[in-house]
C-alpha cells in the first residue's frame, strides 16, 4: 500500500519547493542586499552626523558663499583673496580643464609619433621609441612630476640670468615668459576671419568627401583648408592695418613684467603628464595599426591606390576603430591624473578645493562629494560621447 503523504508533509514539501524556486531565492537575496546597503548607509550617515555635531561643524553648502581669503597662483578668471569659496571651486575646475586639455593635445601628438616610430623599419628609430615607452610607463607618474619640478625646473637660473630666445621668450626658475598678444581696434575682424576659414574648411571637407563618394574624384582638402586658415586671417590682418601687436616680457626689478607666464608648476605637470600618457598612447596606436590585417593594405595596393591614399582611405580609418576606445580611456586617465598637481602645488581642483578649501572650512563631506562629482561628470559625459562615436564607427555587418 502506497504511503499517503500527510497534509503536514505536503506543506513542508511546498515550502521546500518555494525555497528552491530560483525566482524566490533571487527576490530574497536582493531584499537582503537592499537592507544591507541601506543599513550600511544609515550606519555611516548617522555616525557622520553625530561626529560632525560633536566637532561643531555645520553641514550644508553655505560655506561656498564665504570669503576664501587665500590667493591662487594661477587663475583663468579674475580671482583674489576677497572672492568666495565658490569662486575657488571654479578657478580650480578651470585649471584642471586647462591642464587636461593641454596634456591631451601634447600626449596625443607625442604618442602617435612614438607609436608609429616603434613600427618603423629603421632599427634605430624603433629602438629609441621602445626605450622611451618602456622607461616612462614603468616609472610612477608622481615621481616623474617631482623630477621635472624639483630636479629640472628648480635648477633653472634666477630671473636675472634667464635663458632668453631673441629677447622675447625667457626661461627662468619662476617660469616660462612668452610675449602676449595685444588686441587693438579692428582685431576682432581677424578673429572672425579665422573662424570663417575654419568653418569653411569643415564644409569643404564634407563636400569633398561626398563628391569623392559619388564621382571618385579626390579634392586636395588639406592643402586648401590649411592655406585658407592661414591666409584669410593674414590678409584681414594687413587690411585692418596690423591691429594685433605683441607685448614682450621685460625684466623690471626682481621679476619679469608683461607677457604671458607659464608657471613652473604647470610646465612640470604638463611635461610629466604628456610624456607619461604618451607612452601608453604609443602602445595603443601601435596595436591599432597592427590590428589592420595585411590583406587590407595589399587590397589597397592592388586597387592602384598610392601609399598616402591607402593610408588615408583604408588603413587609418580601420586602425582608428581599434584605437579610439582605449585612447579615450587614456584621456580620462590623464584628466584624473592631473589631480597629482596637488603634490607640487599647481592650483587644480583637488589642490585648491580639496586641499586649501577643505583645510580652511573643515567641510570634508561637502568638499569631497563635490570634487568627486566633478570627476564623475567628466567620466560619464566622456563615456556617453564615446558610445555615440563608437556606434557611428562600429563595423556594420550584414
Amino acid at each position: 500500500m502506497a504511503a499517503h503523504p500527510s497534509s503536514k508533509d505536503n506543506s513542508a514539501n511546498n515550502l521546500r519547493k518555494i525555497w528552491f524556486d530560483p525566482n524566490v531565492r533571487a527576490l530574497v537575496f536582493q531584499i537582503i542586499v537592499v537592507i544591507g546597503v541601506i543599513g550600511f548607509f544609515f550606519y555611516i550617515i548617522s555616525n557622520a552626523l553625530f561626529n560632525l555635531e560633536q566637532r561643531g561643524i555645520t553641514t550644508g553648502f553655505g560655506f561656498m558663499n564665504q570669503t576664501a581669503g587665500f590667493g591662487i597662483i594661477q587663475s583663468l578668471i579674475e580671482y583674489d583673496e576677497s572672492h568666495t569659496f565658490g569662486r575657488t571651486f571654479i578657478v580650480g575646475l578651470l585649471n584642471t580643464l586647462l591642464i587636461s586639455a593641454l596634456g591631451i593635445i601634447f600626449a596625443t601628438i607625442i604618442g602617435f609619433v612614438m607609436g608609429v616610430a616603434r613600427l618603423s623599419n629603421n632599427w634605430l628609430i624603433s629602438k629609441v621609441a621602445t626605450v622611451y615607452i618602456e622607461t616612462l610607463r614603468n616609472i610612477p607618474l608622481l615621481l616623474q612630476i617631482f623630477f621635472w619640478y624639483f630636479a629640472v625646473l628648480r635648477a633653472l637660473p634666477s630671473p636675472r640670468q634667464s635663458v632668453s630666445l631673441g629677447e622675447a621668450v625667457f626661461l627662468n626658475v619662476r617660469g616660462l615668459y612668452l610675449p602676449s598678444p595685444v588686441m587693438e581696434a579692428g582685431s576682432s575682424f581677424v578673429v572672425i576671419a579665422f573662424f570663417i576659414a575654419v568653418i569653411g574648411s569643415i564644409v569643404l571637407a564634407k563636400w569633398a568627401k561626398r563628391r569623392q563618394m559619388l564621382t571618385g574624384q579626390p579634392f586636395p582638402v588639406l592643402a586648401v583648408s590649411a592655406a585658407s586658415i592661414v591666409l584669410l586671417p593674414l590678409i584681414v590682418f594687413f587690411i585692418m592695418g596690423m591691429p594685433i601687436g605683441l607685448e614682450y616680457p621685460a625684466l623690471k626689478g626682481f621679476n619679469f613684467q608683461g607677457g604671458v607666464v607659464v608657471i613652473p608648476e604647470l610646465a612640470a605637470l604638463l611635461v610629466a603628464l604628456s610624456f607619461y600618457t604618451a607612452a601608453f598612447i604609443a602602445e595603443i596606436v601601435r596595436s591599432g595599426i597592427l590590428a589592420v590585417s595585411k590583406g587590407q593594405s595589399e587590397a589597397a595596393e592592388s586597387l592602384g591606390l598610392t601609399r598616402t591614399q591607402a593610408l588615408k582611405l583604408v588603413i587609418i580609418p580601420q586602425a582608428m576603430r581599434v584605437i579610439i576606445p582605449p585612447l579615450t580611456s587614456q584621456y580620462l586617465n590623464l584628466t584624473k591624473n592631473s589631480s597629482l598637481a596637488t603634490a607640487i602645488g599647481y592650483p587644480d581642483l583637488v589642490s585648491v578645493f580639496m586641499g586649501t578649501t577643505l583645510n580652511q572650512t573643515g567641510q570634508a563631506i561637502e568638499v569631497i562629494a563635490l570634487t568627486m562629482a566633478v570627476y564623475l561628470t567628466i567620466s560619464i559625459s566622456t563615456s556617453i560621447l564615446m558610445n555615440i562615436y563608437n556606434k557611428k564607427m562600429a563595423l556594420v555587418e550584414r
Binding site: 560632525l52 610612477p140 583637488v350 567620466s379
Partner: protein
C-alpha cells in the same frame, strides 16, 4: 644517363649579409632612413655619453657625508647613506630581520609560483593569498609570539610600498570577483548596485579616494573604532582597486564560451558550484596577465599615499631631499627610486607578456 648535378650555392652578395647587410637593411634602406639614422645618432649619442659619464664614470660611491662628493658626477653616497631608510622606513634597526624574513619568503613564494614545475601549485597559490598575508601581518606588526610591537607609523620605504600594493591586490581580488559576478547577475538590484560601485570608483582619481579615506572614514565610524593612517589608506586603495579588478574579471567571465555555463547547468550544478568549479577557474586563469597589469598600475599608484602623509619609497626619498645636509642631490635620489620602480614594473610587464603568449598557444 647523366645525373643532373646542382651547382653549389653561390655566396650572397657581400652587401646583403653580416653587419654591413644588416646596417643597409635596417639603418640605411633609403635616403630618408639614412637621414633619420644620422639625425638620431647625432641627437642620442652625446646625451647618452654624458649620462653614462655622470652616472658611473665620474660618480662618487664611497664616503659618509656630502664632502665626499667632489667630482662632477652623481653623488651615490647620498643614496647609500639613506639606503636602509629607503628600504625599511623608520622600522627599528634591531627588528629589521623580520622585514628581511618577509622579503626572502616573499621572493621564494613568487619564484615557486612562477616556476612551472612546482608541485601542488594551486594549494601554494591559496596559501600565499590567504594564510601567508596573515603570517606576514603578525611578523611585521609584532605584539604576538613574543615579538616587539612595531607601530604602523614606523613602517615605510620599499617595505611599505610592497605592503600597500600586495594588500591592495590580495584583498581586492575576492571583492572584485564578487562585484564581477554581481555585474553579470540576472538580479536587477544586485546588478545595478555592482555597476554603480564599479563605475563610481573607476571614475574618480585615486588621490580623491585617499583624501576621502583619510578625512571622511573617521567620521563614518563611531569614535571608539581606532583607524590609523595606514589602515585608512589601505581601505581606500582596496575600494578603488576592487572596482578595477572587477572589470578585469568581468572580461575573463565574458571570454568563457556559453557552452561552459550550459555544461554546468546540464550537470545540474548550483550557481555557486558551477561558478566555483567550472567558470571561475577558467576565467581567473585567462585574466592572470590582466591582473598582473593592474598590479603594475597599483604598484606605481601606491606612491600617491605621500599626499596623506605615509612614507612609502618615494615619500622617504622626497623627505631626504629636504635634509639641509644633502641639498642639491635631488636627481640622484629620483634616479635611484625610478630605477627601483622600473625594475619591479618592467619585470612584471615582461612576465605578463610571457604569460599572455603562453596562454595564447592553448587555443
Amino acid at each position: 644517363m647523366s645525373v643532373h648535378q646542382f651547382k653549389p650555392d653561390q655566396t650572397p652578395p657581400d652587401m646583403s649579409v653580416g653587419f654591413v647587410g644588416w646596417m643597409k637593411k635596417n639603418l640605411f634602406s633609403s635616403w630618408i632612413n639614412s637621414f633619420f639614422t644620422l639625425l638620431i645618432l647625432y641627437l642620442v649619442i652625446p646625451p647618452l655619453a654624458a649620462a653614462i659619464e655622470w652616472l658611473f664614470i665620474n660618480a662618487d660611491w664611497i664616503g659618509e657625508s656630502r664632502d665626499a662628493c667632489t667630482s662632477d658626477g652623481a653623488c651615490w653616497v647620498f643614496v647609500i647613506d639613506r639606503f636602509s631608510q629607503l628600504i625599511y622606513g623608520f622600522y627599528p634597526t634591531e627588528e629589521r630581520w623580520r622585514v628581511n624574513i618577509v622579503f626572502i619568503t616573499f621572493l621564494l613564494l613568487i619564484a615557486a609560483l612562477i616556476y612551472e614545475k612546482t608541485p601542488h601549485k594551486p594549494k601554494l597559490a591559496i596559501f600565499s593569498l590567504v594564510i601567508y598575508p596573515i603570517i606576514v601581518f603578525f611578523l611585521l606588526l609584532g605584539d604576538a609570539f613574543g615579538l616587539v610591537k612595531v607601530e604602523t607609523h614606523q613602517w615605510g620605504g620599499l617595505m611599505l610600498t610592497l605592503v600597500l600594493a600586495i594588500v591592495g591586490i590580495v584583498a581586492a581580488l575576492p571583492i572584485g570577483i564578487l562585484l564581477a559576478l554581481g555585474r553579470r547577475s540576472h538580479m536587477p538590484i544586485v546588478r545595478s548596485f555592482s555597476t554603480i560601485y564599479i563605475e563610481f570608483w573607476r571614475a574618480v582619481p585615486l588621490i580623491t579616494v585617499l583624501f576621502m579615506a583619510s578625512v571622511m572614514l573617521p567620521l563614518f565610524v563611531g569614535s571608539e573604532v581606532d583607524f590609523n593612517k595606514l589602515l585608512r589608506a589601505m581601505i581606500g586603495i582596496i575600494m578603488f582597486q576592487s572596482a578595477y579588478m572587477a572589470e578585469v574579471i568581468r572580461g575573463g567571465l565574458q571570454a568563457i564560451p556559453k557552452g561552459q555555463y550550459e555544461a554546468g547547468e546540464a550537470l545540474s550544478l548550483s550557481y555557486w558550484q558551477s561558478m566555483g568549479l567550472i567558470i571561475l577557474p577558467q576565467a581567473l586563469k585567462i585574466t592572470i596577465p590582466s591582473i598582473v597589469n593592474t598590479f603594475i598600475a597599483l604598484f606605481k599608484d601606491t606612491s600617491l599615499v605621500l599626499v596623506i602623509g605615509l612614507f612609502d619609497l618615494l615619500a622617504i626619498g622626497q623627505s631626504a631631499l629636504a635634509d639641509p645636509e644633502w641639498l642639491g642631490f635631488s636627481t640622484e635620489m629620483y634616479v635611484f627610486i625610478a630605477f627601483v620602480f622600473w625594475v619591479f614594473c618592467f619585470s612584471m610587464s615582461r612576465y605578463s607578456i610571457y604569460l599572455e603568449k603562453k596562454l595564447h598557444t592553448g587555443h
